[in-house]
């Protein structure tokens, strides 16, 4: 795994484990799998309800669509969201930051 030039081993394993792969029509890879305990189903419309103090690029109130979700027992789910502001890009967002669109 590379974070801006820094390499960490096992990102490939991470991607494989969660089924994260390139998807036609999208600039970034993500998984279309659905975490069984996910609060928001694939295809659900969601709204950003909370952001970190330092500020996320998508402010609260932003709307998006759930493309897939990942997780493990004892932790909150992570969702791949296609924000309206950035179509064709899937962004991984933790459940805390999301609420239903309506």
């Amino acid at each position: 795994m590379k974070i801006e030039g820094h390499t960490i081993a096992a990102d490939e394993a991470f991607a494989k484990y969660f089924g994260i792969e390139d998807q036609p029509g999208y600039l970034t890879p993500f998984t279309r799998r659905q975490w069984p305990l996910a609060k928001y189903m694939n295809g659900a419309r969601v709204r950003k309800v909370w952001q970190d103090r330092t500020g996320d690029i998508h402010p609260p109130g932003s709307l998006g669509t759930v493309l897939g979700s990942i997780g493990a027992l004892g932790m909150q789910a992570g969702y791949f969201i296609e924000w309206d502001a950035t179509p064709h890009v899937a962004t991984l967002v933790v459940e805390d930051k999301l609420g239903p669109a309506k």
């Binding site: 590379k2 970034t28 694939n42 330092t54 690029i57 493990a72 309206d84 890009v89």
Partner: protein
């Protein structure tokens, strides 16, 4: 804040997180939900994928110097993400942008089609796995003697004789492929040692019955290597 994470496969995952890359790197920081999420994920998956253990260990070992560098990179991430997006789509990022009804319908159709394809692929794979499992079971049964087949059908285990030592090994097929081989004491059913050895060709899973057959053949054909490679633990 957006940070993209490039993997060895040149893939790019965008993560919306508090301090960008720093949250990924700082596995010991449990102050935020995001870093909790990442570090907990490492812990939860260590039992499933050994490479996660490596990743988790590496995350914890990251030095403060590297963390400082990640913080700096995280500060640049917004700008970088913006220019990346601009380059890829030929327009600037606008956080207040809303999709039109037509655009939403088009995206929904694309995603519904992809979801359908994904389900079909998953069903196809499940069928293949089921068929491979059945064939592997048949193959194992072909290699068992009548006595071994009887205990396998009745008790889900069978006994194999070591090729060199002539000691008896019990291969338990009801407890998966980890630590399922026991070395028995004499002609009794008591075990004095448990052995853990299984094969992962290219990291791909193979049917359990193939694993049991490989264990059987190796005990009979190359007992020394079997014992050398296996993780061994005393029983009782």
């Amino acid at each position: 804040m957006h940070v993209w994470v490039n993997s060895a496969t040149a893939a790019t995952v965008w993560i919306e997180t508090q301090t960008g890359a720093a949250a990924w790197m700082n596995a010991t920081n449990s102050a935020t939900a995001t870093s909790n999420w990442i570090s907990t994920m490492g812990n939860c998956t260590t039992t499933s994928t050994s490479s996660f253990y490596d990743a988790q260990t590496q995350l914890i070992q990251i030095s403060s110097q590297q963390q400082a560098m990640q913080m700096m990179l995280a500060q640049q991430a917004n700008g970088l993400a913006n220019s990346q997006y601009q380059n890829d789509l030929g327009r600037r990022y606008d956080p207040s942008r809303r999709m039109s009804a037509a655009e939403l319908a088009e995206r929904a159709e694309v995603n519904a089609r992809a979801e359908l394809e994904r389900r079909e692929r998953a069903e196809e794979e499940a069928k293949k796995r089921k068929s491979a499992r059945a064939r592997a079971r048949e193959l194992l049964l072909d290699h068992l003697t009548d006595a071994q087949r009887e205990t396998f059908e009745k008790n889900h285990w069978f006994v194999v004789e070591g090729g060199r030592s002539k000691r008896r090994y019990r291969i338990d097929t009801a407890r998966g492929t980890s630590g399922n081989v026991e070395r028995l004491v004499g002609e009794t059913a008591h075990a004095d040692e448990r052995l853990c050895i299984h094969h992962r060709p290219g990291g791909e899973p193979i049917p359990d019955y193939d694993q049991f057959l490989a264990q059987k053949l190796m005990i009979e054909g190359d007992e020394d290597s079997f014992r050398k490679i296996a993780n061994r633990s005393r029983v009782g």
